[in-house]
Symmetry: C2
Subunit: 246 residues, 2 copies
DNA sequence: ACGCCCGGTTGATCGAGATCAAGGCGTCCC
DNA sequence: GGGACGCCTTGATCTCGATCAACCGGGCGT
């Protein structure tokens, strides 16, 4: 594979296997990365990084779900990102964390010591290009979320969240022909509320309403069955065709 | 200046003078850029780019103010970005615009034909690194805005918007010792509402309230005098020390 | 001079979602 | 078993911002 651009899922040589550093990895880059990486584990509910912490590493999520959040002095909090496996934590050229990073489930991250990682960025353009792509994708997601936060109703917010998680979850497994989907909601009602700019009571009420109307079904508290994804999409307020595109 | 990293404001050789492509420009890069650039002008109120348009260029704002916005089918709209001189429009690797770009004042942009620009990205890492920095800054701004949209009151939103514009405006002119600042609000009440996730009536009422309480003064409709920036900051809900930092 | 339009202001009322409060159901630990 | 705790649900009420509506003033074209 030396020097050839390869697909993430075929990248069997790579010990890390994450978009951030592997999508276009080359063997000599991998050797460099090997020498600067180490793993950290966190348990569900644990705050991995506090806003204001000194960061001497960047990292990539390996397993689990984490959130990025901001809190005001009086306790109001807003989630500003959802971190899933392959998502990147930290930023080259900055060493104080601006957000809280909290493990939702048990989480393993692969850390890279910051200085050598930044040096590598300068010498190997592939990694920088991949980071740029990822940052722009994050920016699109943030802007989509701004529309949700600023203009959607509580019901639309809930439907959008479920639809987004469902889409992401089922894009790996190829779309199911019957139209029915089953999705794990990794978040508590409170975390959903912090993501959507609502209170947990409103989240609970709106989930109940969608259930009552047969748009979703619940299996336990955290598993959602979507009988017809198109019916759910109608509740999101989004136009039918697709996501962000500058 | 060949091959040396130079500061934007000293970059007198550069015909474009924008962060996007000049912060670390080198003479041979500039020659490349020269060959692929052209200018476009738009008048106030004009929509420069519609969501869905084919983009065969990327661009950098030279003069004026423009907005990036999303609209739902029923007309609800949300601004997702404010474009000021030196801000970048478009994204390498994508050719359909996902947002509306609207000129607020008369606007001049410097366009670069897309294919050659993308080729240049591959060959000259400086430009890519600069774009990554800019994208990450935009991401921070978007996340700060998510907190505002999700969790702040109308009054806090207005105060935050004025404070942000004031800060940005006066960072060029070194901070004024007396504490008094004077700021041009480039946006109409409706545009402010679309930015803040409010209605124009609420914006008007809250601006009036801040004026009535002496926190701001108005000079005409569009110029704001801030007698004491710290008093205004107290109304934003932000904690005293500073912006985002992963 | 006139009317018109655009952007802004202010008032009255309404309603979605916040807030306050009570209670239900698992799970864990003593 | 039984309490304690975490997470969720549901009800009653309140409130902030939306909505509907009237009006103001300046710029512009005729």
């Amino acid at each position: 594979m030396n020097k050839s651009v390869i697909d993430l899922n075929e990248c069997t040589n790579c010990p890390i296997r994450h978009r951030a550093v592997c999508a276009r990895c080359e063997t000599d880059e991998l050797e460099q990365l090997e020498s600067m990486k180490y793993y950290r584990n966190y348990s569900a509910g644990q705050t991995m990084i506090w806003a204001g912490d000194k960061m001497d590493f960047v990292a990539s999520v390996v397993v689990g779900v984490a959130t990025l959040s901001q809190t005001m002095e009086d306790g109001r909090t807003q989630m500003v990102g959802l971190l899933l496996p392959s998502d990147f934590i930290g930023r080259p050229g900055r060493d104080i964390a601006p957000y809280n990073v909290t493990a939702v489930s048990d989480v393993t991250v692969c850390c890279f010591r910051k200085k050598p990682f930044e040096n590598m960025l300068v010498t190997t353009p592939h990694v920088g290009q991949r980071l740029l792509e990822m940052a722009l994708d994050e920016l699109d997601a943030a802007r989509e979320w701004m529309l949700l936060l600023g203009r959607k109703t509580a019901r639309e917010k809930i439907a959008s969240l479920i639809a987004i998680i469902a889409r992401r979850d089922n894009e790996a497994k190829s779309a199911i022909p019957g139209g029915q989907m089953s999705v794990d909601l990794p978040l508590t009602r409170e975390a959903m509320a912090d993501y959507l700019g609502l209170t947990l009571e409103t989240v609970s009420r709106q989930v109940s309403a969608l259930k009552r109307e047969g748009i979703i079904e619940l299996e336990g508290k955290r598993r959602v069955i979507i009988p017809d994804i198109d019916v759910l999409m109608d509740e999101t307020g989004d136009d039918s065709d697709g996501g962000p595109l500058i």
